[in-house]
Amino acid sequence: MASCEIPVGGEERMQKRRKGLGKTCIKCKRDAGALVLRGLVYCRPCTEALVVQRFRKVIDDHIPPNSASSSILAIAYSGGLGSTLLLELVANILGSSSTRSRKHRWDHIDVIYVDQSAIEDLSGYQGPSSAEVQRIVTSYPDFRLTQVPLEACFDEGSDVQPSRLLRSHIQSIPTRTGMVDSINLLTRRLLERTAKSLGATHLILGRNMSSLSIALLSNICSGRGASISDETVASWNGLLSFNPLRDLGSKECASYVYWKNLKVISRVNSLEDWSGTSASISHLTREFITGLERDYPSTVSTITKTCAKVSPRGDRPSQCSLCYRPMKSATDEDSQQHAVAILASSPRDAPGTLCYACNVLFTSSNSKSLFSGGLEVPMPIWSSRPADLE
């Protein structure tokens, strides 16, 4: 029978972080090394070239170069490491006015910032101020900034303020894992909808190999395994969203940002010092990945590369009305009925169909008492309009 234990001598065979590395750059074989990336030594110019080259490759893979028609690019900006680097690379590589390097032509480049301050106390995340965001984005003259509050996910037309609807939506989720998952999915949907409303054809996200691995693993743990491929590249209503930094580790991203003297303004979530049962799956996954990256630096890229090969079996004809990921209607049938039964207490917001993971958000075992009390769970604009195919 197969065993999960590492066989005798197996640990020695795994590629551990090497000590006593050579000091010359592996690429130019001339300059002194500045950085160790996945066991290989690179000098600073070669590291910077590597960052640009890998960024450009993913862009070219998703946006055909020299396409005749011009388009609008949207960049999701959070103030974090990845999106800070993304702004710099887009401004200097894609937006470069030099005709020789300019393969892509953009009518506009829109930067979208989702302001989560309405739920700061619930999420534990105190984001940068609006002025800070504005200062960073306006330092790139070609970018237009759109700041949108997370509560824009909820209907303004109702008699309750959208921020209160957002808060009670988040508060009705019984677990911290579900709360983090929900904030992520609302943010992503809002980015997509905002990008679309600005007329964008492409939305780029700032997740690098490390943060993408964290998202992939925690999504699998949350039951989003069936839509895992959409985490890397997703297409919705003519808008393609993807992660141009997916082939770059956090180490080269952080060094590049430091060398270019760029400022990262997002803070670390104050509730993420939590340990044990109160921590979220996404926080525990981050601890795991950062540790893995230090001790076995080559393994993290395996996660993103493996997930890129995973595709769901069969057709996925329907769409979850909350997360908008494609889902398989036949296998999810049971859970849909379950969800409808539970959420029927909120007739105004009667949802269409929920995927397994969105269902679990609201129906974890300890939430039963919450729903049996007939509590209304406000749902975002898009899910309360099942007929609206947007």
């Binding site: 090394g33 060094s255 670390v268 950062t290």
Partner: protein
């Protein structure tokens, strides 16, 4: 700056080394949101709390991390230190070179060294 320290190993206790400490990637938020610091630390290190390194050795990076934790860190030390080293996700550069190439915690500090701590933990 007039530094007249000579070799570290011969320094008497009470002497100090001047260093430049820089933060990047958001790590500065743990240190009063100031990115660049000029510090003066003892030239002779104290023993590590676990006893893994003895006292009276020339100050090394391990000691600097301990010293920063005791003297500079403003909040949430778990985001910077883990045991006697930096936590995973904090990248250390010694004079613009990865500390993995310089012996990590065992690197012996020299006057005017520039030590950079870059966080990779500040999200996407």
């Amino acid at each position: 700056m007039a530094n007249d320290f000579g070799l570290n190993v011969t320094m008497a206790s009470g002497e100090t080394i001047n260093l430049k400490i820089q933060f990047g990637g958001g790590a500065e938020l743990l240190f009063g949101n100031i990115r660049s610091h000029e510090v003066s630390i003892p030239a002779i290190a104290a023993a590590t709390p676990s006893g893994s390194k003895q006292a009276d050795r020339p100050s090394d990076i391990t000691f600097l991390i301990q010293w920063m934790k005791d003297n500079m860190l403003k909040e949430r030390e778990g985001l910077f230190v883990e045991g006697e080293t930096v936590r995973p996700g904090i990248l250390v550069l010694i004079n613009d070179t990865d500390w993995e190439l310089e012996g990590e915690g065992d690197y012996i500090l020299q006057p005017k060294d520039e030590i950079v701590f870059i966080s990779t933990l500040h999200g996407g």
